[in-house]
């Protein structure tokens, strides 16, 4: 099985590829448009430098060779959501070539990347019917039109659905971690097309190429490739020939269906875009970007383990997403103890987030507040138990922990005279526990401490309570 993947990822720029319109997702239809992205007569494209920078970062982290001179070309075809009648892309002079990604396997394998280039996205069509040929009418939203994309084309090095999944996960992790893209397949900011062909045992030449479209999730990629592998091998086993065609993945039926025969490939009449001079990068600029490339997850993970002394498993979770690692890094620069901060993030914060289904890009509090909370425990202002409740309040309301402690009177009680009173009361109310202690059952001490905490609403300083109870009971035992 020979598979090549074409991945489109939207770049995380504020403005579009060739104009200054916002790239925000989810705005009212046709609100982020201008003469340029609507293709009005007379308008001209101007390259977004930030898009070039992000694409170069992607190219560098994918081990590509960046071309100092590349060119934009026009890909000509007619479709209602393509306002100029051509897409500005790159063709024979792409931004970067010859990269690779390592997938974990087992065994680990190098998947080569043929090219990485910049282009603009098209608008969105909404058909009142199954597709444009059968719809009574279609609606168009041009907010997405002109959003910068990179297209990453792999060599046909992938030989199983599982390898395809690993390659995509690796790409997604790298693009997300370097801040190049938010790679959300459900919002369409990452899209995957696949080529698949089967090679008969003992033959060098792969068979006819089938192109797969409508792969809207990693799961869909894996299932569609597995389905195609089985379909094609059944045809070959029966002595038939696989047709060169484009097929679409039907999510509900879990099958691929033919979209159009691909006997002659469509002629896009590519030619250099005369509106844009060649994209020329200087060596110095490229060096500068190289230095700005954020460390990759594995580099970060090593740093957390070796320098900060965080357990390898915990470091792995912290670096599983860029947002989470960034959150942790900011806690460090706020002066938190690495292990303490890591524990709070992993057990309490992530625990809370999992329970309400929040992803790593929706962390409900700030690093500053989390560090404040940890410091409140260190200074003995609150107990660890109370802190957990405060964290939930912080997450629910986004408030400052100091403010919560102050307003709700949650400060730890360290006043010995007051605690003596409460403890005396507890001892008086629990004669059987006291008896037990007298008989040497030390577990009962914990019970008494618990009772004190209950009476003080958890605010008593447990260490002080412990000491006082012990000293009182010693006196009882001795007596």
């Amino acid at each position: 099985m020979v598979v090549g993947l074409e991945v489109h990822a939207e770049l995380l720029t504020k403005s579009k590829m060739f104009c200054r319109c916002s790239t925000r997702f989810g705005d009212p239809p046709n609100s982020n448009v201008c003469p340029v992205c609507l293709g009005l007569p007379g308008s001209l494209p101007v390259v977004n430098g930030e898009a070039v920078r992000l694409a170069v970062i992607a190219a560098l982290t994918l081990n590509c060779q960046v071309n100092l001179r590349s060119r934009f070309a026009r890909k000509n075809y007619f479709y209602p959501d393509l306002p100029k009648g051509y897409q500005i892309s790159q063709y024979d002079e792409p931004l970067a070539v010859n990269g690779y990604v390592m997938i974990p396997g087992p065994p680990p394998k190098k998947i080569r990347i043929r090219r990485l280039h910049l282009e603009e996205d098209a608008g969105k069509s909404l058909h009142a019917g199954d597709d444009i040929t059968r719809a009574a009418y279609s609606l168009l939203d041009f907010n997405r039109c002109g959003v910068p994309l990179i297209e990453i084309v792999s060599e046909p090095d992938i030989s199983s659905p599982e390898e395809a999944r690993q390659y995509l996960e690796e790409l997604r992790r790298i693009l997300e971690f370097t801040g190049v893209s938010d790679v959300k397949m459900e919002e369409g900011s990452m899209r995957v097309d696949s080529n698949i062909s089967l090679r008969r045992a003992g033959q060098d030449q792969p068979g006819a190429l089938v192109e797969l479209k409508n792969l809207n999730s990693f799961r869909a990629v894996v299932r569609a490739l597995a389905y195609e592998r089985d379909r094609q091998s059944r045809i070959l086993a029966a002595g038939g020939t696989v047709l060169r065609e484009t097929r679409g993945w039907d999510e509900s039926l879990e099958i691929t269906v033919p979209l159009r025969a691909k006997e002659t490939s469509e002629d896009y009449r590519y030619f250099p875009d005369p509106d844009l001079p060649p994209l020329v990068l200087s060596e110095e600029w490229l060096e500068k970007v190289r230095r700005e490339v954020p460390p990759l997850p594995e580099e970060k993970r090593e740093y957390y383990v070796n320098v900060l002394g965080i357990p390898a498993y915990d470091a792995g979770i912290l670096t599983s997403s860029r947002k989470l690692a960034e959150f942790f890094d900011e806690c460090m620069s706020e002066g938190a103890d690495p292990k303490v901060a890591s524990n709070w993030i992993l057990s309490e914060l992530l625990g809370y987030m999992n329970s309400c289904g929040l992803g790593p890009d929706a962390i409900p509090t700030s690093p500053e507040f989390l560090v404040k909370l940890v410091k409140l425990i260190e200074k003995g202002v609150i107990s660890g138990r109370i802190a957990k409740d405060i964290l939930v309040k912080m997450a629910e309301t986004g408030r400052d922990p100091e403010e919560i402690v102050r307003e709700e009177g949650l400060q730890q009680v360290t006043d010995e005279a007051f605690l003596q009173q409460v403890i005396d009361q507890v001892i008086a109310e629990n004669p059987s526990a006291v008896e037990g202690i007298k008989k040497g059952r030390s577990k009962a001490i914990g019970f008494l401490v618990g009772q004190v905490m209950k009476k003080t609403g958890g605010r008593a300083n447990p260490e002080i309570v412990n000491i006082i109870i012990k000293s009182k009971l010693e006196w009882i035992r001795d007596a």
Partner: protein, 522 residues
Amino acid sequence: MNDDALWNMKASALLELMAAGEVSSVEVVEAFLDRISEVEREVGAFLEVMQEEALAQARRIDKLRQSGEYPGLLGGIPVAVKDNICAAGAGCTCGSRMLADWTAPYDATVVRALKEQGAVIIGKTNMDEFAMGSSTENSALGVTRNPWDLRRVPGGSSGGSAAAVAAGEVPLALGSDTGGSVRQPAAFTGVTGLKPTYGRVSRYGLVAFASSLDQIGPLAADVKDLCLLMDVISGFDERDSTSEDRPVPSYSQALSRSTRGLKGGVPKECLTQGVSPGVRRCFERALEMLEELGIDIKEISLPMTRYALDCYYIIAPAEASSNLSRFDGVRYGVRAETESFEKMYMRTRRNFGPEVRRRIMLGTFALSAGYYDAYYLRAAKVRTLIRRDFKRAFEEFDIILSPTAPTSAFLLGERTQDPLSMYMADVLTVPANLAGLPALSVPCGFEEVPGSGGGGEGEMVRRLPVGLQITGRPFDEETVLCAGHAFYQAVAPGVEAELARMRKGLGRASQGSTRCCVQGSG
């Protein structure tokens, strides 16, 4: 009507009068509006006249002047704009049925610059559809006639702008030049026109025909007026990635420079390209006058320019085929309502006229898989060689001289059935577009052609203007304009006397003969 009517004056003179408070901008604009209504029936230069907006802008300028404020370099001067350049709120038809009802929602950078410098946009001028043509006959929206002989074409594609200036309907106008579309009509109508260096003037807001060749250029009665427009429209624009970020000189001030000792080259190829005897005589006389001005003239060779026209007719249609894809009826312009979206495309695009369709097909073919290398790529290589020819020539010469067009204005209908003879009208102008060079057309004399004959108004011969083309180094418009100015000063008395005579003949007694001309031209 008299010779010192306001509409008969140049922009430079009108600016002086307004600055001195002798006339107001409203008076100037009204004079031109009157002139337009007087001669437009014959000339047909405009597709839209913005009377209300023009008068409102004139009143604003007058108010500024009265309160002692500077109204800008062109404060109160009417300017006509070719109808492929966007001006917010005005139509922008490109001479096409496709955009007959489209109103531009934004200003082209040049239009914004004009407005900022106090110019009064007075109307939008007729043109060959999408600037494809050399006679303005390809306009789907009206006929423009050459004011020198109403039986004849004004040239094209900026025929409306050239005819409007020649007829005294406006002192200044903007055109666009892809293969000669400013210079050739300037030559045909006896006015001056400049194609600036590619990248000197922003193309933002110019509806693209062939993006690597298009350049907006000014038309005016003389070089001095031309410089007024150049001073306003030149310069880098961050909205146009092909505009060049380099300093812009004051062209008006450059005119005082001496031309003595300049070296002028005459390509020996230029007189072999079907040049008429009358044009040749004018050109040879012009060379003598240039020598009298101290310009040193020698023959040179630009061998690759022989292939310029072939090269142009691959590159320009190829780019056009892609540029015109956006006219699909989806978002703006005409839409054919049909049952399927594919039919919508096909039917909508039938609104293109025959010449536009011809070029879209040519260009689509030249870019198709299997033909790309043989056509587009080879043309791109020839283009590089043509550039190299010029580069070598400019190591020795400061300017290159040729006639602007091989003939003077031809008759309406004379070449419409034969596209190749129409294409020949650009043979001397396309090299400057392919090489991206600045090139000026300036009136240099008259060719005598048979008149309308017969009794009454009929005459035995008709004198038609001929243009001299001066091409310069990239971004050296100054030398080109300076030489053009010196030359024009020498021919001005004769040229302007003829111009005044021609203008007098318009709008008054020629109704009868116009009708006769139309019938005569078939």
